[in-house]
Symmetry: C2
Subunit: 398 residues, 2 copies
Amino acid sequence: MNLYDRFSHANILLSAFLFSICLSAQSADLLTEKQRFVIKDFKTTSGVVLPEVQVGWESYGKLNANKDNVIVISHYLAGTSHAAGKYSPDDKRAGYWDYIIGPGKAVDTDKFFVISTDSLSNAQTKNPKVFTTGPFSIDPSTGRPYGTKFPVVTVRDFVNTQYALLKSLGVTKIHATMGASMGSHQSLEWANAYPDMVERVISVIGAGEANVWSKADIGRWANEIQNDPNWNNGDYYDGPYPIDGITRAMWGMLFSVYHGHFLDQKLKTSIDKDRGPWEDITAKFEVTTWLEKIAASRASVFDPNAILYLARSCQLWRLGHGDSLAEGIKPIKAKILLLPAKHDEILGSYMTKQFYNALLMQNKRVQYEEIVGPWGHMDGIYAIGTKTKEIEAFLNTD
Amino acid sequence: MNLYDRFSHANILLSAFLFSICLSAQSADLLTEKQRFVIKDFKTTSGVVLPEVQVGWESYGKLNANKDNVIVISHYLAGTSHAAGKYSPDDKRAGYWDYIIGPGKAVDTDKFFVISTDSLSNAQTKNPKVFTTGPFSIDPSTGRPYGTKFPVVTVRDFVNTQYALLKSLGVTKIHATMGASMGSHQSLEWANAYPDMVERVISVIGAGEANVWSKADIGRWANEIQNDPNWNNGDYYDGPYPIDGITRAMWGMLFSVYHGHFLDQKLKTSIDKDRGPWEDITAKFEVTTWLEKIAASRASVFDPNAILYLARSCQLWRLGHGDSLAEGIKPIKAKILLLPAKHDEILGSYMTKQFYNALLMQNKRVQYEEIVGPWGHMDGIYAIGTKTKEIEAFLNTD
């Protein structure tokens, strides 16, 4: 079993019953392929010029003659551009939002050209379909991986790679941008960065900015990587791998995205039978070791530096990246659908509500609908099916 | 500045403006002293006999002739028995619940004999007023600290030390038990363990049991201690101190007890001006380093093993410690006032609501009132003043 299979296995383990609904609704027909887009001399918002940036992308549906049926999907921190369909009919699983993207679905690929890209610094470096540029890429000036010499990149930079790709395809109008979590940030940033281009935004489990708590919460798990001596200030590609740090980071990230309801439902019965912790102060509870196993699988797929950079982009997140959220809202012309998850504990509905109110204060067109599911943050992926009607209606009205 | 002063300083730093209300209401008159109670051959619920257990306690008000005006206060994990008053008029701060305990206050010491004890394994071992037995105590069979040979102790064990103390005072009826967080667990356990003795329970920021998520959440910071090689399987009293582990544990504990609202209010302005994280992937956000400073102060006051044992008692918490919560509720005769904090993120109001419903299912007399404050879990301490009327009414009716 190679590393990528182990990751998939972990996901399946984690999602044992979660995907049962989604799997039954998968469209066997929708096939896609990973494509490569190359940008020369990409200038980051921090002012650094990267001689070459590669971006992985895929699409579902067809671009119409007017090139005005485009929906741009951005992925969450641990994800890739594989939002729907399969690369091959033999794939065990389809993309993460296959439940809502496809022929005749809420995001109807019979009607829309849906395009999905990898974020810069995409972390799934052991996934054979991932090659998007990041700190693990070779710095042409040294012939070695960038490591921490890679510039800090922001959500705006991710959007700018998408912009370059769309420009290369001749697209000047976007019907909608859409994404969950870190993908929500991108979908919103589009409406600030290119307000005349974006007509609609669907922000799933997102907010207008990372608050102080979020910065600490993300740092809590991301800094685990830096705490591992093998991280070696990001220069570990020729030396021992910071496996402890990345595993602990993945543990923290996993734990953050699930609500207590879900863990209770999954593990309560077996934990009640476990007498170890009653007798031995060093014994760990099953929930901890269960998460450790999944974290270990993820750790072997994700590049630690990439995770650090993605985490940082989320810590720095504020619509428009200016001095205030209000300022970032000002240029927006798109209408916005906010889909927070009611039980989300990291980008909680209270943060989305604050953003909603800030949008209303500036008379922006915005609709707020809570996803109610058992998983917490992950309801934005697993329970998205409860909002198909709202998504479909939002996409098909002006 | 000795260690204890440094801890106080950290608390003051943390609470700069938090205590302004409370301090103004402090009763200069209420003085108390720490007393010592010794139990010989204390048998833990796990069946281990400890040859000697010392318990620190203090009281406010006077025991009446009928010995039926007793209110038992239990403290939260990081606290001590110092719930109200001062040890000396020169003390900078009074006990943590001084706002509600004292002459003429909600818990009226003109009327009630309020008794407060240290939990077993009290962690403030560098506090000169703390001497309660724990893993840091000398094991008479070896002449060295118990370390991990100390038995796993539960909330029931804490209650049993209180029971022994009350018995020594000739008390057979308790007007009310009361506590916050880990103290809430104790106040509730009393009603299961000694149902004919306890008339009322006030459970503040508590729930009926630790759910699976709680076990992992507590383990997430507590296990930091075990992850420090200097912890040396609990045998560090003669060697290097596991300062990194305990500091990281304190960081996690601190972070858990505050809601995002509070951190945002406290640090937003300065964080917005900090350009470090925009330019350097290794830079930490101010919120992280701010918490690190406070965590370091606490780390120097708390014994790491003691924290591990207290954390475990909270992980193992279930009313009655039996096979189900319903079974633990059954014997209760006391009426119960539940005071969860609406924005609590570790013993959240959803957990208290589940417990409330479980109590109603068995026709128990129970009242549920949410504390609404900006601090999260800590609202049970800092915002308790918003529930003085409810507490007073509950204590003064049958």
